[in-house]
């Protein structure tokens, strides 16, 4: 075990990777927020992202471009989320069970196609895969310290932060957003003004699929350009914890995503110091439990301050 000096761990490079590793979680979180606000807690984010990752790679090889891969991923994820929506909204299946079954199905399907379509086992990596390239932002990249943090990321990293703002804008500043949120918070109010609540729920699920496509594409076409079995590694669940922590609001949820990204990055960094990978890789998952713990403490404290005239706790959880 090498010299564990805090300075050598907490480098700018670490924070830069934290941003990069938060990106897929941010996408999944934003997607999940959309459908949570219509009243559907989407536990299928994990599987949707995995499908996105697979088809991004497949599409990249087929079209010879990263954006082509993104397109394939978007189509695949929209199909899957449409399936989810039809099963739940038309055939009246239980959404939690459908979401979980979808994850299992996604693992099965991607593993199957890995062998049946791409003719490999475990990992698919070839030079045919075209990934995204990092973007250097002129001028900014010359700022000391901050420059290394902000410039030089993959385009989807920047887009993930932009998407947080877009989601905020749509949900809290547009009529559409108000109507959508009413469906999840007080469906009578939405119905009474003629909102088509079923349509809104469809939108919620399709948008989560769309975001998962971005998240999955980022996983397999950026830092790593490959597809490996179950490569989403639980990020879909981390997204749920982030949504819970942020009480379905984009910016507070983003905070949790950044913490998870940091935990991921730290785990990688600590391995370079000789700590055993198995132990260190527990970090993101332990972090998730800690984040849930903290939001529970905050919730308890929030109730105790009877002077605070805040909004009603709009919590969303399945149990």
């Amino acid at each position: 075990m090498g010299n564990v000096d805090l300075r050598s761990i907490l480098t700018i490079a670490l924070f830069a990777s934290a941003l990069r590793m938060a990106t897929p979680i941010i996408f999944a979180t934003m997607g999940g927020i959309f459908s949570s606000h219509t009243g559907i807690f989407n536990v299928g984010l994990e599987g949707m992202m995995l499908i996105g990752s697979f088809f991004a790679v497949y599409g990249s090889v087929q079209t010879g471009s990263a954006y082509g891969g993104l397109l394939y991923a978007i189509i695949a994820c929209l199909v899957v989320s449409l399936l989810f929506a039809v099963l739940h909204l038309e055939l009246k299946a239980n959404p939690i069970i459908v979401g979980l079954a979808l994850n299992i199905f996604a693992v099965g399907m991607t593993n199957y196609l890995l062998t049946a379509l791409l003719e490999v086992y475990g990992v698919y990596k070839t030079d045919l895969i075209v990934g995204f390239n990092e973007l250097e932002i002129p001028l900014i990249n010359q700022i000391p310290i901050l420059g290394k943090l902000i410039s030089g990321h993959f385009p989807l990293v920047y887009f993930s932060f932009v998407s947080v703002y877009i989601v905020y804008l749509i949900l809290y500043k547009t009529p559409f957003g108000f109507h959508l949120r009413a469906v999840g918070e007080k469906i009578d109010a939405a119905e009474s003004i003629g909102v088509n609540t079923k349509k809104m729920k469809y939108y919620g699920l399709l948008v989560s699929g769309l975001f998962c496509a971005f998240g999955g594409t980022f996983l397999s076409l950026s830092y790593l350009t490959l597809f490996s079995e179950e490569m989403t590694a639980g990020r879909g669940w981390l997204a749920l914890a982030a949504i819970n922590f942020g009480r379905m609001r984009p910016v507070p949820s983003l905070m949790a995503c950044l913490v998870f990204g940091f935990a991921d990055a730290l785990a990688v960094r600590l391995q370079q110091f000789g700590l055993p990978s198995q132990v260190v890789l527990m970090l993101p998952y332990i972090m998730t439990v800690i984040v849930l713990f903290i939001s529970a403490i905050i919730a308890e404290r929030r109730k105790k301050s009877s002077l605070k005239k805040g909004e009603e706790d709009v919590e969303f959880s399945p149990s």
Partner: protein
């Protein structure tokens, strides 16, 4: 007057009997329908990727039931499925969303293995039960953090149980990579358990062992427990309506704790039986998602122990047959996961059942 009342009673009984029959037939037809859908979807995927579904399914069947030994192997594979299914059922019946079966399986398997390879001078009659108890305790104790978070901090168990899966797998990976590493193992694994800890086989030429008997016995025990005991009643009521249970004075906290511990303990038992009966040591990655099979089986069986058996058998057949299918026709085993997933996707669709029931009613009544 008396005759009229008797006739009325008879009519009512007749009506009730016909209604029950309709319901049972409808359920059966519904299951058949979604099974067919699942198999068709699997076939479709195979066909679209240039494989022959007929020969694939044929090989699957052959592999699972082709001869006596294969059938016995299928039963052996079903052992873990039964235990996982019951573990899931007990939790879900109490409205506990325990998605941590996989992690509890790993921990239980490891603790059982540990007792198996650490103590070498015990007679089988002592060693095996000791290992099994260790497995049960391991699985059960792994649910304690989730219970704490749920009961003290009101954190729903869905995400914590999932997180503990990843933590358990990495923890046990670490344990067999460093402190308990066995360099002679073919893949990352613990030392072999002592011969005294191995489960006696039932049929020569097959891997089936007394673990299967234990699983069957557990089916009956869990049926009795859930439906015939006081604690079972409490857990069922808490699962159906926790507010009602609390207002009626039922011990809600105790039921939640018991359900979670039992769930973890039973699949921990499953892990123990896998190590002692099949693998002989704790192997990294030994589980091909049995915890998730447990979840799926419980859902498909609607949390009823007697329904767990056929579902577990089906899953065991898929698992066993898939090996043959892959080696003979080259169709990857993963197609089986798709079939299972599809089954669960459709199993909570109520519309099929309603329409089937309506149709049958016209016919039966």
């Amino acid at each position: 007057m008396v005759l009229k009342k008797e006739l009325m009673n008879k009519k009512q009984n007749n009506h009730a009997w016909r209604e029950k029959l309709t319901n049972i037939l409808a359920q059966f037809a519904n299951y058949l329908l979604i099974l067919i859908i699942a198999l068709v979807i699997g076939a479709l995927v195979m066909y679209l990727s240039g494989r022959d579904p007929i020969s694939a399914y044929g090989a699957l069947w052959e592999g699972a039931f082709g001869n006596g030994y294969r059938f016995a192997d299928t039963l052996d594979r079903s052992t873990i499925m039964i235990l996982a299914g019951i573990a899931g059922s007990i939790a879900f019946r109490t409205n506990i969303i325990n998605l941590g079966l996989e992690g509890q399986l790993y921990i239980g398997a490891f603790t059982a293995a540990w007792v198996g390879f650490t103590f070498t001078n015990l007679p089988s009659i002592v060693h095996i039960p000791l290992c099994i108890i260790a497995g049960i305790l391991g699985g059960a104790l792994w649910t304690l953090p989730v219970l704490y978070l749920k009961l003290r901090w009101k954190i729903p168990e869905l995400v914590p149980t999932l997180m503990l899966n990843y933590i358990a797998i990495r923890l046990t990976d670490y344990l067999i990579a460093f402190p308990f590493r066995d360099p002679t193992a073919p893949m990352a694994g613990s030392p072999l358990v002592a011969a005294s800890a191995r489960l006696p086989k039932l049929i020569k030429g097959s891997t089936i062992n007394i673990g299967f008997i234990i699983a069957i016995v557990l089916i009956f025990i869990s049926y009795w427990f859930i439906f015939k005991t006081k604690v079972g009643y409490e857990m069922r009521m808490v699962g159906l309506n926790q507010d009602f249970a609390a207002a009626a004075g039922l011990p809600v906290k105790k039921s939640i704790i018991l359900a979670m511990l039992m769930s973890g303990g039973i699949i921990g038992l499953g892990g123990a039986l896998m190590i002692l009966g099949f693998f002989g040591r704790f192997l990294g990655g030994f589980s091909s998602g049995y915890g998730w099979d447990g979840f799926m089986i419980a859902i498909v069986a609607q949390n009823h122990p007697f329904a767990v058996f056929p579902a577990a058998l089906f899953f065991g057949a898929l698992a066993n047959g898939a090996l043959t299918m892959q080696s003979v026709t080259g169709v990857p085993q993963a197609v089986v996961a798709m079939v299972k997933g599809t089954l669960v996707l459709f199993v909570t669709v109520k519309i099929f059942l309603e329409n089937i029931r309506k149709g049958l009613k016209k016919w039966v009544m």
